[in-house]
């Protein structure tokens, strides 16, 4: 209760800055997970 977060208010939407940061992080990690190539082992024998 002692540390009240800052709130952003736009039209009907009211959200605390920490919640907004978490949502932003989720979107960022989701985008990175979709875009980044997943490392995988080469098949045995060295041929690709």
């Amino acid at each position: 209760m002692k540390d009240v977060p800052r709130y952003l208010h736009w039209w009907l939407i009211q959200i605390s800055v920490p919640n907004l940061v978490v949502i932003g992080l989720m979107l960022l990690i989701f985008a990175l997970a979709v875009v980044l190539p997943f490392p995988h082992r080469r098949p045995r024998g060295g041929a690709r």
Binding site: M1, F30, A33, V34, F38
Partner: protein, 203 residues
Amino acid sequence: MNLTTKLRRRLERDLTLEDLLPDELPAYVHGYVYLFGIATIASLVLLIFSGVWLAAAGPTWWHVSTLGHYINSIHFWCVQAFFFFMVLHLWTSFFQGAWRDGRGATWVVGVLCFLVGIGTAFTGYISQQNFDAQWIAVQGKDAMNAIGVGAFFNVLNFGQMYGFHIVILPVLVSALVGLHLLLVRIHGVVRPYPVGVPREDQP
């Protein structure tokens, strides 16, 4: 044929050891988005371990000692991780249409995990025994009364909320997550949408 025989034959048919403990996964599972589900389960395991520790030692320990604060914080941050990764897993499953090809039950059980998880987190916030907990309980009681469950689910009753938080709801979440995993193992991971195929021609 009696019920036991029927059940055994069904399990033998649908739950082979190859399905339960696969050593190979389809090629399309090689992607970071497929790690969100296991990250959620890892958070849940750590949540349960830290929760058992907290329940065994009690609030006079977790509010006072340094180790108590640490384990309490682990429990708190695992909740954040649990919901963080569960929502990312939900987005992944949604955009892949993970309910396709007979996987409707898997999707519904996942939704139930999410809903019961919210209830578990809520009762946990009330069980902290600090000013936050009192504030949340006093605010929450009006919502419970408004939907008519206040007489059976009294958020101002610490004993009842603590019981829900450490026994009833965690057992329910664990059972649902177990069933979700079992269904994933039985049906496998859904195939991605075919690229360049018109919607009406897709399987």
